[in-house]
Subunit: 286 residues, 2 copies
C-alpha cells in the first residue's frame, strides 16, 4: 500500500469515468437522462460541499420520504410538486400549445376509478357545504365544440379535505365523478364550493417545508381531467380567484387562464355558479 500520497484531483475524472461506462447503454434516452442527472448532482455537491453528516441527513430524508409513500399517500409526488418540479414538467410539455387550456399537475389525490354520473348529477354525497353549479363547455382550438368528451371532476370539501384523505369521515367518492359532454360539448354538475387547504404537514416533506418557513397553502380549486379521441388529454385546475391564498399556491400551479369566478346565484345567497370552458389541443399538436 502506498503511504498516504494525496490522491489526484479525481472529481471530473469520476464523471468522465461514469460517462465512459455509459457509452455501452442501448437505451439512449435513459442513458442521457442518467448522465445529465449525475452531472447536476456532482455539480451540486461540489457547490455545497456537504459534510458526511449532512449527506447522511439527506439520505435519511429520502428514506423517510420513501417510507411515507404507500397506496394511500404519495410523498414523492408531493415533494416534486412543492419543489416546483411537477409544474415545470407540465409547463415545458405544452410550451407550443397556443390557445389550449394550460395543463396542470394532477396532484396526489386523483383517483382513476371515479363513478360515471349522468349530466347534472350531484357530486356531493354528504350534503355538506355551499351548493355550487358547474356548467362547462369543451372546445377545440378553433372554438368548435368537442362532443362526447369525458370529463372527470374531483375536489376537496369545504374544509379542504379530499375523500381519500378522510375515508372514515367522508363517503367514498364524495366530490368525485365522471361525466360525458353532450353533442354540443356541454356538461354540467352540482357540487359544493371547495375550501382551500394545507398540504400534509406531518410527513417529511411538510416538516422540511416548515423548517424552511415555506407555506403549504393551496388556494381553493376544482380539478378537471378532460379526454376526447383525437385530442391531448387535459388535466387542469380551476382556482377560486377570490381565495386569499391565490398568490401563494405551494404548487406554483395558478395561471391567469385558470382563475374561475364562483358567482353567487341571484335570489340564492348561499348558492354559487361556476362556468368553465376548456380548449383541447389536437393529439398531434407539437
Amino acid at each position: 500500500m502506498v503511504d498516504g500520497a494525496p490522491a489526484a484531483e479525481s472529481q471530473d475524472a469520476l464523471l468522465e469515468a461514469f460517462a465512459e461506462r455509459l457509452g455501452a447503454a442501448r437505451e439512449e434516452r435513459l442513458a442521457q437522462g442518467v448522465l445529465a442527472l449525475v452531472g447536476r448532482l456532482h455539480d451540486l455537491i461540489r457547490d455545497l460541499r456537504p459534510t458526511p453528516d449532512e449527506f447522511s441527513a439527506v439520505l435519511g430524508f429520502l428514506t423517510d420520504v420513501g417510507h411515507n409513500t404507500d397506496a394511500r399517500r404519495q410523498e414523492w409526488v408531493l415533494l416534486a410538486d412543492v419543489l416546483g418540479v411537477s409544474t415545470l414538467v407540465e409547463d415545458l410539455s405544452q410550451s407550443a400549445r397556443g390557445r389550449a387550456t394550460p395543463s396542470t399537475i394532477a396532484g396526489p389525490f386523483y383517483r382513476p376509478d371515479a363513478p360515471d354520473l349522468p349530466d347534472g348529477a350531484d357530486l356531493c354525497r354528504d350534503g355538506r357545504g355551499q351548493p355550487l353549479d358547474i356548467a362547462g363547455q369543451i372546445s377545440d382550438l378553433s372554438g368548435a365544440p368537442i362532443p362526447q368528451a369525458v370529463v372527470e371532476i374531483w375536489h376537496a370539501n369545504a374544509q379542504g379535505c379530499y375523500e381519500n384523505q378522510q375515508p372514515d369521515l367522508q363517503p367514498e367518492f364524495n366530490l368525485r365523478g365522471r361525466f360525458r359532454a353532450d353533442a354540443s360539448g356541454r356538461f354540467s354538475c352540482r357540487t359544493i364550493r371547495p375550501g382551500g387547504y394545507m398540504l400534509p404537514k406531518d410527513g417529511p416533506v411538510g416538516i422540511l417545508f416548515q423548517r424552511l418557513g415555506l407555506g403549504l397553502e393551496r388556494p381553493a380549486h376544482i380539478h378537471f381531467r378532460v379526454a376526447a379521441p383525437g385530442f391531448r388529454t387535459l388535466v387542469t385546475h380551476v382556482f377560486d380567484r377570490d381565495d386569499p391564498a391565490i398568490g401563494r399556491d405551494a404548487l406554483f400551479a395558478v395561471k391567469p387562464e385558470l382563475l374561475g369566478e364562483f358567482r353567487p346565484v341571484s335570489d340564492h345567497p348561499e348558492r354559487f355558479a361556476l362556468a368553465v370552458r376548456f380548449f383541447l389541443a389536437p393529439e398531434t399538436h407539437p
Copy 2:
C-alpha cells in the same frame, strides 16, 4: 376564466418565486442547499424536457427505491454509491488531508455493533475460505504511532457475501470485529481472503444499472474504520490489487493509496498475509 391566452414564459419566474419564498428561512444552510438543489433540478428538467410519462417513470423509480429500503437493506445508499455521489462527498470532505489515508464510503454493509475481539483473534466464524493474516499500524501524519486506536474490520466472504446479506447461511458477525491497537499503534487479526462481488441486481438500482449496461462489480476489499481521540475517524477500504475487476469498481472508490497486496505466506501456499498502514489526520485538520 380567461380563454386560452398562452401563459407567459414562467420557468425562471418559478425559481425566482421559490427563492423569494425561501428568504424567510431561519436555517440558512438548509435553505441554501434546497435552493441549490431546486435550481439544478429545474435546469435538468429544462435540458431533458421529460414527457409526463417519463416523469411518472422517475417518480415510480423513486417509489421503488423507497420501498426497497428497510432495516436490512439501504437502497438509497446504494443509489448514491453507484452514481459516484458518495465517493465525491468523501473526496471533497478531505481535500486538504496531506498524507492522511483517503477515506472512502462505509457502504451499506457496515454494522456498528461488531464484537470486541482480542488482538490476533480470528474473524472467521465458519472456517470457510483461504486464511489471511492482517497486520496493521496506525500512525499520525508524522508517522508516529497512535496507541489504543479502535479498529473495526468487516468484509465479505470468499463468495463475496457479507454476513448480514446471508443471515441464514453465515454465523452472525462472521468476518466482523473490533480491535484495539497496542501501545505502538499495532493490531493484528486472522480472517479469510475476501472475494469480489456484484452489488444487488434484484432491486430498482440494480435493474436500472443492468438496463444501462453498467457494471455492478466490486473488486475484493476489506473495510476498516479507525477511531482515536484527537483524530478524524478514518473509514476506508483496502483493495486486492490483483482482483481482475480492480479497474471497474462500481462505486469509484479505488485509489492508488488503497491498493493492498495479499502476499502468499512462504511454505503455506494457501495462506496469505496483508500489511496495512493507516495515517490519521488530526481532528482539527481543515
